[in-house]
C-alpha cells in the first residue's frame, strides 16, 4: 500500500466493497429475464448513514421505507436494492411490499429492520413479485460476495456499470471511499431512476456526514441532466462504518476538508458516469462557468447549458454553435451582463464583447468529434464557479423513448 500524506487523495481500483468491513452481492431473482436484479451492501458494523432523496411529489415506496429506517437512528447495516420494478405509484400494497422486503432481509441478517435501507428502480406502477424477492433474499444468503454482481443488479437501461474508489489518510489511518451508481433515462414506466451508493470505512459524525452529502449532491448528482427529468426513486446513500479506526471526523477535524474533497470526487465520478451513459448518448458534455455572481448562479448557468436540447443536438452534430450556448445562458435565472460573457470551446474563444469571434471551424469540429466536450464560460459578475454535466441528444434517444413499447 502506498503511504499517503495527509492531504493526498488517490484514485484506486475499487468499488463499494473496497472500504474495510463492507461486502456487496448480487443475484438474479427473476424480476428480469436473465440479468441480475437484486443486490445488497452489508457492513460488518453499524454504519453512520446519510441519504438524499428525489424531490418528486410522487416518492416511491422504498424511499419512504429508507426514510423510516433513518428516522429510527442514523445507522444502517445494509441496503437492499432491486431493479426491474420501481415499486412507485403502487399505493398501499407497494408500501407494504417495501416494508416486507426490509423485514425479510433484516431477519436473514438477524438484525433490526430499521438497520436496513431499501431501494428500487425500474418500471413504475407495477407491483413487486414478493415471492421472487423472498427467493432472491434466500439465494443471497448462499451467494459469495461480488461487488460486480451488485453493480450489475442495480442497472436498468444503463449500458455499463458505474464504480469508483478513492483512498486518503486521516490521522495516519488509510480511509477508503467506494461508490456505485446507476442512471440512464430519468423516469418512465419501463425504466427509471438514478441511484448512488457510497461506502466508506471512515468514522464520521452523523450530522457532518448528512450535511456534507447534501452539499456535495448539489454540485455533483444535482448538476447532471440527461433529459431534465426527476424520477420517483432517485436516492443517494452514504454508509460510513468506522472500520478504518480513524479518529471520528467532525466538521472541526483538521482532516475534514480532505475527506469532504474525496467524497466529492467519488460523487462527481459517479455523476459524470451517469451523464456519459445517458440514453442514446455518444458524448459527455461538461459546462464550466467562471466569474458568475456566486456559485449558485454559476451552477444554474452550467446546468442550463448542458440541459439545452439545442446545445445537446449541436454537440451531437459536431457543430460549434455558440448561439445555442448564448441562448441557454440568456434565459437562465442568473445575473448575466451580455457584454461580459465569453464562450470557449476546446481552447478557442467563440464569443466575446457580445459578438461572435473569429475561430477555426475545423479545429472546433475536430474537438467536438471527441467523446468528452467541455464548454467554458467566463463572466465578470463575481467569483462564482460552477460545473454541470450532460450528454448529447441523438436519434437513439428518440428511438429508445418513442418506440420501445411499439
Amino acid at each position: 500500500m502506498i503511504q499517503l500524506s495527509e492531504d493526498q487523495i488517490v484514485k484506486v481500483t475499487g468499488d463499494v466493497s473496497s472500504p474495510k468491513g463492507f461486502q456487496a452481492k448480487g443475484v438474479h431473482c427473476g424480476l428480469r429475464y436473465s440479468k441480475k436484479d437484486l443486490g445488497v451492501i452489508i457492513s460488518e458494523t453499524p454504519a453512520v448513514s446519510a441519504a438524499v432523496y428525489t424531490q418528486s411529489h410522487f416518492q416511491a415506496a422504498p424511499i419512504k421505507v429508507t426514510q423510516d429506517s433513518l428516522k429510527h437512528g442514523p445507522t444502517l447495516k445494509a441496503v437492499i436494492v432491486n431493479s426491474a420494478i420501481a415499486n412507485a405509484c403502487t399505493g398501499e400494497q407497494g408500501l407494504k411490499d417495501a416494508y416486507t422486503m426490509r423485514e425479510s432481509f433484516a431477519s436473514q441478517l438477524g438484525i433490526e429492520p430499521e438497520l436496513v435501507a431499501v431501494s428500487s428502480t425500474g418500471v413504475i406502477g407495477e407491483h413487486l413479485d414478493m415471492e421472487k424477492i423472498h427467493a432472491g433474499i434466500e439465494l443471497l444468503k448462499e451467494t459469495p460476495a461480488g461487488s460486480g454482481d451488485f453493480e450489475e443488479a442495480i442497472l436498468t437501461t444503463d449500458t455499463v456499470i458505474k464504480q469508483t474508489c478513492y483512498e486518503l489518510a486521516i490521522g495516519g489511518k488509510t480511509v477508503t471511499i467506494g461508490g456505485a451508481a446507476k442512471g440512464s433515462g430519468m423516469i418512465h414506466p419501463n425504466m427509471a431512476t438514478m441511484l448512488g451508493f457510497v461506502t466508506t470505512d471512515a468514522a464520521i459524525e452523523e450530522k457532518a456526514l448528512q450535511k456534507a452529502l447534501r452539499e456535495i449532491t448539489d454540485v455533483s448528482f444535482n448538476q447532471i441532466t440527461v433529459d431534465g427529468e426527476t424520477s420517483t426513486n432517485d436516492m443517494v446513500l452514504v454508509m460510513a462504518n468506522g472500520c478504518a479506526e480513524n479518529e471520528c471526523l467532525t466538521e472541526d477535524h483538521p482532516d475534514w476538508p480532505v475527506f469532504k474533497k474525496a467524497l466529492l470526487l467519488t460523487c462527481e465520478d459517479l455523476a459524470k458516469e451517469i451523464a456519459r451513459d445517458g440514453e442514446g448518448a455518444t458524448k459527455l458534455i461538461e459546462a464550466q462557468v467562471q466569474g458568475a455572481k456566486n456559485n449558485l448562479d454559476a451552477n444554474v448557468i452550467a446546468k442550463k447549458i448542458v440541459g439545452s436540447n439545442l446545445v445537446k443536438t449541436a454537440v451531437y452534430g459536431t457543430d460549434a454553435n455558440w448561439g445555442r450556448i448564448i441562448g441557454a445562458i440568456g434565459h437562465s435565472a442568473a445575473q448575466v451582463t451580455a457584454e461580459e460573457v465569453e464562450v470557449y470551446l476546446g481552447g478557442q474563444c467563440l464569443f466575446k464583447n457580445n459578438e461572435p469571434q473569429p475561430f477555426s471551424e475545423s479545429i472546433a469540429k475536430e474537438y467536438l468529434e471527441g467523446d468528452e466536450i467541455t464548454i467554458v464560460i467566463k463572466m465578470a459578475e463575481g467569483d462564482g464557479n460552477g460545473r454541470a454535466w450532460g450528454c448529447d441528444l441523438t436519434y437513439d434517444y428518440i428511438k429508445i423513448n418513442a418506440s420501445y413499447r411499439t
Copy 2:
C-alpha cells in the same frame, strides 16, 4: 356583415390587415435567396401600441429600438420586420443598423422615427446588409398591400404562415382583431425567434392595452414550448388604431371583458400554431390542468408536461405513457398531493389514487395517432386552471438541429 351581439366573438377569415386602417406588405430584398424577407404593417392613423419582449439577457438590437420607440410615446404608425438576420449579438454596429432601419422606413412614410417599431429574426451574430434593407424599403414603396406577403416575409424555418382574425361588437361598432406570427425553433445561429403581431381597429386606452397584453401573453405565448429555449428577438406587438370609432376601451368599460377575451383568443390561436409548427413536429400537444392550488400552479404543471422530452417522445411514439406525465408533474415546483392527481387521455383515466388505472391501450393508441393530443390533469388542491401547448419530439427535430450545418 353579420350583426354581432355585445358579448359575441366570431372567428372570421382575415389577418393583420383586416382591421380598418391597416395594411401589410412583404417583399424580397435579398437577405434570403428567394423567399420574401422584409415586411411592414402600416396604420393610417397613430395606433396605441403595447409590446412584450424576450426575457433573454442577450436582447437583440431591434428589441432595443422598438423599446426606444415606445418610450417616446405609446403610439406607432408602423412596424418593419426582416427575416434571415436576427441582428442579435451584433454589438454597436448592430444597434446602429436597427436605428437606421427605423429611420429609413420612417423617412419614406414621412413620419417621426419614434412612430416605427423594428423587429428581426434569423441568424444571430451576423450583421444586416443595410444596402439590401434600404433597397427593400424602396421596393416596399411601390409594392401593393398584401398581408400574405407580410406573413411570408417574417417566417424562417416555419413550414406554414400563421394568421388569425376575430370580430366583436363594442358599443354597437364592429371591432376587428387580426394576428400574424412566426415560430419554429427557438434560438440558434441559423434561425430563431417567435414573433407575434396583432392589429385592431379598436380604440383602447394605452395602459389597459399594455396590461391586457402582459396578462394574455402569460397564458398564451408564454405557455408554449418547442424546445424550452428563449430567443434574443422574441416580441409580441399589438397596435390599436381606433378606426372602428368605438368609445375608447378602458378596464372599466362594460365591453372590456369581451375585448380582452377576443385578444386572448387571437394570441392563443397564434401560440397554438407556433407550437404545432415546432421543428420536426407532427402533433400539437395541449395540457389542461384543473383544480391546482391556483392558476399559476396550474400553468406551471401544464408547461412541465408539454415541455418534457419524455412526454414528447411518448406522444410521437403513440404511447399512452402515464408514467412520464406523472414524472413531469412530480418535479414541478407546484403544490401536488400525489394521491389526488388524476391523469386523462382521450377521455380515459390512466392514473388515479396514486396508482395506474385499467384502460384500453388500443383506444389510447388510436387517440394518440391524431394530430391534436390533449392531456387532462385533475387535482384537488384548489380552483386553479391552466393550459400549455407543445409538440412531439421526433427524429426530424434531431435531424434539423444536429445536421443543418453539415
